[in-house]
Amino acid sequence: MLKRLARWSRIKSPWILHLNSGACNACDIEIVAALTPRFDLERLGVLLKATPRHADVIICTGPVTRQVKDRLIRIYEQVPDPKFVVAVGACAMSGCVYRGAYNIEGGIDQVIPVDAYVPGCPARPDAILDGVVKLLGKL
């Protein structure tokens, strides 16, 4: 019974932490746009949190540049345990237009394990919403 309760609570209140690893901030404004009145992620109980300690879903954007790489890993380790990573946008998935540049690592999955990919350049706010909901359904 306790397990079911914990599972229900994790589905119902995913707190997100936004992480930009060198993106062109189109996906970042779409993530923030998902919190504003028209899409309003708070209906699903999603809150944008400032510290990794409070978050359990990390939304990353951007092809990981060389400088950000070890910071990304360090933040990933800081998030308390039941944590998930959502890679938003084509850059986070495969480096998109910047594939082959000398300073980037390609997608987020080269650095940290990723649970859900949201395609699009930039991913539309409703696509991000759908991604978060599908990720929670997978729980």
Partner: protein, 323 residues
Amino acid sequence: MAVIRTLLYLLVYPGLLFLFVYSTFCEWFDRKVYARLQNRMGPTHTGKWGLLQPVADFIKLMSKEDIVPDLADKRLFNALPVFGLAIVSAAAMLLPVWNFDLAVPGPTSFAGDIIVVLYMLSLPTLIFFLAGWASTSFFSTIGATRVLTMLFGYEVPLFLSVLSPALLAGSWRLAEIAHFYQQKPLLILPNLLGFVVALIAVQAKLERTPFDIPHAETEVVGGTFTEYSGKKLAFFRLMTDIEMVVSAGLLAAVFLAGFPGGALLGFANFVVKTLFIIFLLSLMRALTSRIRVDQVVSFAWKYLAPLAVLQLLIVILIKGFLS
């Protein structure tokens, strides 16, 4: 029999169970009003109209991994949330709701209990400071120092404004104050000025938006709670909710003529009046932007303190006029 009755008091009615349910309801109410004021919908999908959202947050946090920073002071770091919760729910016991009878001053309603409640309400600020100081990260230390600087700002006006109606009623017992204003409802009007000052001061005590500098999201990231996660964070969030309920109850008891009527009517009065005050608080939260720490202290001493003293003057004049 008396033991069971006090146990019942402790655990069920004004105790933990009721407080947990009612404070989560107040948090839901506050988030919903705040969202509606911002033209969006707020939590809706967890339970009916999103009622269970704070409960879901609480359980999720309880089931998360708990991290204690290496350099933090372990004993202090773990003990603080429990202390905070205990203090605030003890303060809730003293509210003059339902379980008092005017004649016999029992353990939960005695002469001078308004002072005890006020003191207990200022202890959580100290707890926030220690929490920030114990988790030795940059941002929590800065948040901790900010908590204290703000304390000097709003504490004196809050005490002055809350005590002036007590002065008019001529007694330090919450139950008697409430009873006095129930007899003479006309006397509530002169206290309106004190009510406004107290509202602003309580908003600062609860660290809500115009004064949420200690845990300002965009400046000092998490402020005092940067390092907390999992169970301890859950307790801290519950503590702030209960603190909101208790201070709303205190303001209602002192300024809005308490909670008349027997068991059921008194409780209904309690709920309606506290929700009205919480509505005012979230209204204030939605309409103002955060101001800086030095501006808080200067605002408190330039405007709040003189108004509180003016309120005291009015009360003394009326008292002289009445007798």
